[in-house]
């Protein structure tokens, strides 16, 4: 792996009129994304704050997941995707040619909609990423795995069966294992793509508690279809509609007194 790395992520001070907590970590600047000839994201500009939870909401197909996947360049994996504009993290354009995608993805972790633990043991699931990034030695590894599982509030449930298959865990436990796996490599940002949409209400509540806990150390961007969830856990909310950013503001304002009629209709359940 070439040793090209991003400069350490340092939040830059928001320009005037900034909404997101004073210090902005992620700057999306007139970002457009095309699937072939279809323009899926239309000139989106957005500043996301450090150590806050930002929620992306909007009806299906509005581009919120696509935008999320621009932040760790997961869209690179899809043929025919073209991007214009810039995404800056800590002031550095992640689409510039000198960026090592491996290093980027180490710093910007991701949790997916469908929990996708590897068909390995619980321990190996967490150890996989650690090993990729050079953690060696039995003691170091065991310590790091325990720390990550504790961080994802899963340790007490699995400490006696670390070497059992991860596929034997319940859906909610699997998703928390995926979160443990993501935080194990100490990213600075965690992207979550509808992390609780396949979970029952109790498992969802646990994941939400965890997100609020993680907010102290990580910058979190979450895509959700669940309005109550966005209201409960996010500090800032961006509402998207057909590839466009309609409104971005503090969550309280979006849900109580949105500037746009469209946003109000959506959050009150009148469409979408």
């Amino acid at each position: 792996m070439p040793e090209i790395s991003l400069p350490k992520i340092v939040p830059v001070d928001m320009k005037s009129g900034g909404d997101a907590g004073g210090r902005s970590l992620i700057t999306i600047d007139r970002l457009a994304l095309y699937y072939g000839a279809t323009k899926a994201l239309k000139d989106i500009s957005l500043n996301l704050g450090e150590r806050v939870v930002t929620a992306f909401i909007g009806p299906s197909g509005c581009g919120k997941s696509t935008l999320l996947r621009c932040l760790n360049r997961m869209n690179d994996l899809i043929d025919n995707v073209r991007i214009e504009g810039a995404v800056k993290i800590g002031g550095h354009d992640i689409y510039s040619s000198d960026v090592d995608v491996i290093e980027l993805r180490k710093r910007v972790g991701m949790v997916f909609q469908k929990s996708n633990p590897f068909p390995k043991s619980i321990f190996e699931n967490v150890a996989y990423g650690l090993r990729l990034h050079g953690v060696k030695g039995k003691t170091d590894m065991e310590g790091a795995v325990e720390e990550s599982l504790r961080g994802a509030a899963l340790w007490d449930e699995v400490k006696d069966r670390l070497h059992a298959s991860a596929l034997g865990l319940s859906g909610g436990q699997q998703q928390r294992l995926c979160i443990a796996r993501a935080i194990a490599i100490k990213p600075e940002i965690i992207l979550m793509d509808e992390p609780a949409s396949a979970l029952d209400p109790i498992a969802t509540a646990r994941v939400e508690e965890l997100i609020l806990e993680l907010k102290k150390d990580y910058t979190i961007v979450i895509v959700t279809h669940n309005m109550q969830q966005a209201a409960r856990i996010s500090d800032y909310t961006a509402f998207f509609y057909i590839g466009e950013l309609v409104e971005f503001d503090a969550t309280a304002k979006i849900f109580t007194n949105p500037a746009c009629k469209q946003t109000e209709d959506y959050v009150t359940g009148r469409f979408g």
Binding site: D79, I102, M110, F118, L132
Partner: protein, 315 residues
């Protein structure tokens, strides 16, 4: 208001002819396949068992191939086993790497990918005797002869029919089987696993090596089993590339010629001076060929199930 039904009897009042007919037809087809298999197997076992003995399978025939009292088929068993193993060693890596390229790297819509896929499918449809001729023309006359020139061999070490060329010819023939099976196995690995690995900062190569291939391994081995079954009984591809009518000793090098069970069946049934006298050993040879194919399959299946169990239980 919907009137409530008078009875709760759901039984059909009429006989469903189409359903009966289709069930019968599919059952009949299945029965036919089974019947053919049973007829072949019983025939071979009944006629083959009397001629089968430890002496027969462990003897290297010294002069008369057709004398039931002294002949044996040890060199044929050895030859067939070795050529299948050598073939597997070549066909699995090449087939798997090709399939990995096609499913994981090649852009799905590009004309090059389409051409490669079409080529693989067409390769599967080529008659096996054509592979034999290809092996003779390419492996022996081109690769082998030039190898001899390069190595300054005074005699033809590589430029003649031998085990290695017969195995390679079989490997080319079974390549499509392995490629198609591996592709199916790779496609069955959930895309979410690849994404999870890549999102953790793994390279594509690491993701394939550590996550995708281990998941696909049982399916890949199924391809290997199919290739072994197909190759074990083939005669045409080895006809020009390595099989010998008679050899007085077992092959010791990959550049040696070899005797083969399938070819020996052909020899016994067409070259015998006294058909009636050789019939028992002909049947016995067929039985051994069937058992050997069966055994090779069992070995591959055991490896596969062992792997599946490991993957399920984990450590």
């Amino acid at each position: 208001m919907i009137p409530s039904p008078a009875t709760t009897d759901f039984r059909s009042k009429e006989f469903r002819y189409s359903s009966f007919f289709l069930t019968g037809l599919t059952g009949l087809a299945t029965f036919l396949i089974l019947a053919i298999l049973v007829v072949i197997l019983t025939n071979v076992v009944i006629h083959g068992l009397p001629g089968l003995s430890w002496r027969f399978v462990s003897t290297i025939p010294k002069k008369d191939l057709f004398d039931p009292a002294t002949t044996g088929i040890l060199p044929m068993i050895v030859g067939t086993t070795i050529r299948v193993f050598v073939m597997t060693i070549f066909v699995l890596p090449v087939g798997v790497i090709t399939a990995v390229y096609l499913t994981e790297y090649a852009p799905n819509t590009s004309p090059v990918t389409k051409i490669i896929r079409a080529a693989v499918n067409n390769l599967a449809g080529v008659p096996s005797v054509v592979f034999g001729l290809f092996g003779l023309g390419f492996f022996i006359n081109f690769v082998g002869k030039n190898l001899d020139l390069l190595l300054h061999n005074s005699y033809q070490a590589w430029g003649q029919p031998s085990l290695i060329w017969a195995s390679l010819t079989l490997a080319v023939m079974t390549l499509p089987v392995v490629i198609v099976a591996t592709e199916e196995a790779l496609k069955a690995v959930p895309p979410g696993l690849r994404e999870a690995s890549l999102a953790l900062g793994a390279t594509k190569l690491k993701t394939i090596y550590k996550i995708v291939l281990p998941q696909a391994l049982p399916g890949i081995l199924t391809g290997g089993i199919l290739a072994v079954s197909r190759a074990a009984g083939e005669v045409a591809p080895i006809l020009f590339t390595g099989v010998a009518y008679y050899m007085s000793s077992l092959p010791t090098h990959l550049t040696d010629q070899f005797m083969d069970l399938g070819y020996h069946v052909f020899v016994l049934s067409t070259q015998s001076p006294n058909i009636d006298k050789t019939q028992p050993i002909l049947y016995a040879t067929v039985l051994v060929l069937l058992l050997l194919t069966f055994a090779l399959n069992i070995v591959a299946i055991l490896i596969r199930s062992n792997m599946r169990r490991k993957m399920r239980s984990l450590h």
